[in-house]
Symmetry: C2
Subunit: 211 residues, 2 copies
């Protein structure tokens, strides 16, 4: 009997390194599934349905919420975002872990869902706010106004750090990634995630009986 996949939730303020860590994790173990969110916002140039997001119209999205097909969802600036449940359950049954790159609202909802006991949640903190802003500026993509907006959202996001099982302070990427892998390896070892142990111990008992 195989291990049930777990739900790894990674949250952090924008710029703390969560997306890079997620990519490194998927390269480290290609069996890990990335949870692609559904959204009602329009695709941007270059975005592809089923790769960056599942793009759905509002009616379809609301129907999915109503029929319980979303593990979590939230409205942000007039658009809906959510994590479809079916692919997560399929991965779990298949013994594959799913990683969620979501914010504290999504994290709360999944932790409080029926799948909550399968959740491992990690909050990634920046070493300092100055460093966080520096990383955002280095991307060179955003205007001052957008950066100011992100920084204000970051403060709100950081205020939820204490709801997570683990906290990684991303001082340097290699040691943050090493912490992430250590956590995942350990959580996979937890007794309640190794249902095959039931059969293994039954085998030991049969060996005792046969002595």
């Amino acid at each position: 009997m195989m291990r049930r996949g777990l739900l790894l939730i990674l949250s952090s303020p924008s710029g703390a390194g969560k997306t890079t860590l997620t990519r490194m994790l998927m390269a480290w173990d290609p069996a890990i599934r990335f949870s692609i969110s559904a959204t009602t916002r329009a695709p941007r140039p270059g975005e592809q349905d089923g790769r960056e997001y599942y793009f759905r119209d509002r009616q379809t999205f609301e129907h999915m919420v109503k029929t319980g097909e979303m593990l979590e969802h939230a409205e942000v600036f007039g658009n809906f975002y959510g994590s479809p449940k079916a692919p997560v359950e399929a991965a779990m049954a298949d013994g594959r872990d799913t990683v969620f790159d979501i914010d504290w609202q999504g994290g709360q909802q999944i932790r409080n869902s029926a799948l909550g006991r399968d959740v491992v949640s990690i909050f990634v903190l920046p070493p300092s706010i100055a460093e966080l802003e520096l990383r955002l500026r280095k991307r060179g993509q955003d205007s001052d106004a957008v950066i100011a907006d992100r920084m204000s959202k970051s403060r709100n996001e950081i205020s939820h750090w204490a709801e997570y099982d683990y906290v990684i302070v991303n001082r340097d990427l290699d040691s943050a990634f090493s912490d992430l892998v250590t956590i995942l390896n350990t959580e996979r070892l937890r007794r309640d995630r190794q249902p095959h142990l039931n059969d293994f111990v039954r085998g030991l008992n049969q060996e005792f009986e046969a002595r």
Copy 2:
């Protein structure tokens, strides 16, 4: 502010490798404290008070139990065994982890004590019962009757495997030890074991305020 030390409980049937793993762990991190049990049994030749055991007379032992100085205790073949609480609490306050080489009875009591939330418990299983018996015989110390007795106790001990947080099947010592270290590293990372994070996040908020 420093991390509070945790209580690492290792249980296993005799011969599964627990004692060797414990020794490897203490060599890996000399800051880890080994919990020395108190007992009412007489010292054997070569045993030293405060090294193998704290040797106490029955009256002293019972007094310690009555005054709550024992974290756990049990009677085995007419002798009392127990884990004194004071050195464990001192180590915890000092940010040092304590490792307990105890059986399922002791494990249950510590998990259900006031220190229960600081416990990480690991059960070490042998790869097979044949291998377990082989390892006992290889020691060459014990008569057939003693080995038969140990095997019967082993069966009882194994029946409690599902009460532990983690299970390690000791197929080879190196990978079992690697699992053990991975678990300890991860448990040290848990948010609720890193009280200094409160100060760290307060610092981040002050940085936001000062912007």
